[in-house]
Symmetry: C2
Subunit: 402 residues, 2 copies
């Protein structure tokens, strides 16, 4: 039988990271491709302790029964406090929606706002799964130029005027894929400009807590006076990705709309997942675990930076992030990181081609994203050497051809 | 700021059950409104045992890390066996998608097929949350007449020819809301007719295992020769709704499309949720727990049927299901169960107005759905008496006015 798929399916393919994730059954491959937190940072002992207490509680039947779509009331209350760590003060329960990972928060926000053909502005480059979600709503994504301290404000205003976008999507702290962080001034300017033009901001903050260098900067949401910013954060990178919990914080009217959208998608986030994150936060485990985790990530990042200096061709330029999970790199034009990926996998090392992070990918095949959180320091050294060797050969070829 | 919502939001309101669920904080209210399994049927001890073993396993870090979108391979393998209990033989891993509850399976299927304006055929009446999900894709739902043994086949064919629907949605075993079951003959005819006309069938089977009377009937999917049936089942009613796990079984091409859609919505079902259901099934707990559960549901159903006979007005007609969770009832025209719901809640008893289960709800305010799984037998007696008193008064008024 020939299937008559929806229009959105024409533009939907598996995301590069998810597809590469499947290849990683091979334990010999050193992967800089995913966005997995370090195994050694996962709080297995804490989660075990918490989970066993939950299953032993009088209340356990409540966990097995249906829950409210917006999340357990006590969890939402705690999350209204938790978002203060991103500078968001005065949030109440009605500003909070429990979500099944940050991904779902983005999905629900687009469901609430996007009709086919609506324009969304994104940073150039941006989170690739966002582009996929936007495709699933048949949105048109337009890239905004990026500077070292965040969006190019002149380009942002130009494109707001040109396209009348409904949404601006950004990852202002330790961006995926670049690792860059927006300055406080730019955040304020973005909050004001989007409010002025009536543009919704989806502020995606999965990495904000993973700072190993530099000063904390409050979220764009903390500067939101018009109620146009939807703050989405995830516990995937700081507690457990497999547990699929996150939080959205926005004006009550928007939270209510997103809650209604959530009814139709998964009814509610699994109760045990919610309670694990709730208890973990309530018991105050996050601060000390984070302190340990960012030390580990800082060391891994340093290991990767120094391996890059040692092994990568001198023509390679890359970012130097203060936190998060990613380094973003650029080769000279003519180096095609898309075509070279199978060769890299053959050499037992994986990265993500940078082109998949661009709303308009033409001419971006010379970029790559490198994740430093998952591999250990020795693997980082070996893996970057493998990449360096491969790319050096390519650059030599390129020069030979000239 | 004035928000520019998507077109779909105009038709999206909270579902009646989810909204009433919020009212049920009041422990004095006897609720026949939801679809919650009986507290005493939730396998708290088993899930506790399983969960504690999972958290103690060497492998626990794997549970906390990211997982595959389609689900754990060993879980998918087991589910390919599991669907044999619905008569589906020969399923392989690639026919199986792990979903975050049955709701998500429906959502992903519509995402795969539905563009705004596409027609979906549903039974008259049908599962209300399905209508909400269909609204979120801006589908047009058309009702097909229903007989005691399932869809009216002549009406089905007429409406397939008239509307060229992409999808037929049905709950063939112990339907929500009616409790009715399609005969084997009708299932076969539906499989053949939809294949002939190229219509996708979403066969929703959350209640099939909850049979306390009568003979097992294989699923429509088991009769699917064309690959046009998507079978969706849930573990919510037989293990735990709060755990949010389910299974979709369909042609590999469709499973792959639904998997891609799932990437964008929640990345994957929480690993611990998956492993709890996996271990529960693997250990063979389902058969004995089900045996106990269906006895309880059978007794509750009998209690409700006899309370209805005792207390409800003689004009009230209702179904007599062999399984599942619901009785469907009809009052004479002129009785408005929509308007009377607040009065019922005032009298500390809740039902769901039947009108919300109709694709075209005009003239259906005389129907109600009663859930018998959640309340205990004493509450069933007291609650039905409260309802009976209220509706008898209304019928007396109605007669007085004539």
């Amino acid at each position: 039988m020939e299937y008559r798929y929806s229009g959105r399916m024409a533009n939907l393919n598996g995301t590069a990271t998810r597809e590469i994730f499947k290849l990683l059954g091979d334990p010999e491959i050193i992967s800089f491709a995913g966005g997995n937190p370090a195994i050694e940072c996962l709080p297995t002992a804490r989660v075990k302790e918490i989970t066993n207490e939950i299953t032993s509680s009088q209340d356990f039947a409540r966990i097995l029964q249906y829950g409210l779509t917006a999340g357990f009331p006590e969890f939402r209350e705690l999350l209204a406090e938790y978002v203060k760590t991103a500078g968001i003060n005065g949030a109440k329960t009605e500003n909070i929606l429990v979500i099944s990972g940050g991904q779902q928060g983005i999905d629900l926000a687009l469901k609430t706002f996007i009709d086919p053909g609506d324009v969304i502005l994104v940073e150039n480059p941006t989170y690739l799964a966002f582009l996929q979600i936007a495709n699933s709503y048949e949105a048109v994504c337009k890239g905004v130029d990026s500077e070292s301290d965040g969006l190019d404000l002149a380009d942002l205003e130009r494109k707001i005027k040109k396209y009348d976008p409904k949404i601006l999507y950004c990852v202002p702290t330790f961006s995926n894929p670049t690792g860059k962080t927006y300055s406080a001034e730019k955040r304020k300017a973005i909050a004001e400009m989007t409010a002025k033009y009536g543009v919704i901001v989806i502020e995606d903050d999965p990495y904000g807590k993973l700072r190993f260098k530099g000063e904390y900067i409050p979220s764009i949401k903390s500067m939101d006076k018009a109620g146009n910013v939807i703050f989405v954060s995830s516990f995937s990178k700081i507690i457990s990705p497999g547990n699929r919990t996150g939080v959205a914080c926005a004006a009550p009217e928007l939270i209510r709309k997103m809650e209604i959208c959530k009814q139709g998608t998964d009814l509610h986030t699994p109760n045990l997942s919610q309670m694990i994150t709730y208890e973990y936060l309530k018991r105050g485990y996050l601060a000390s675990d984070l302190e340990r985790a960012v030390k580990i990530y800082g060391k891994k990042k340093a290991a990767m930076s120094s391996a890059i200096a040692k092994y990568m061709p001198e023509e390679f330029e890359c970012t130097d992030p203060d936190g998060g999970l990613f380094i973003w790199g650029k080769f000279p034009k003519g180096i095609d990181a898309v075509k070279l990926l199978p060769e890299a996998v053959k050499r037992k090392v994986a990265y993500i081609q940078g082109s998949v992070f661009f709303a308009e990918p033409e001419g971006t095949e010379n970029y790559i994203r490198l994740n430093y959180s998952y591999a250990n320091e020795e693997q980082i050294d070996v893996g970057i050497k493998r990449l360096g060797d491969m790319f050096k050969e390519q650059i030599a070829n390129l020069k030979g051809r000239k």
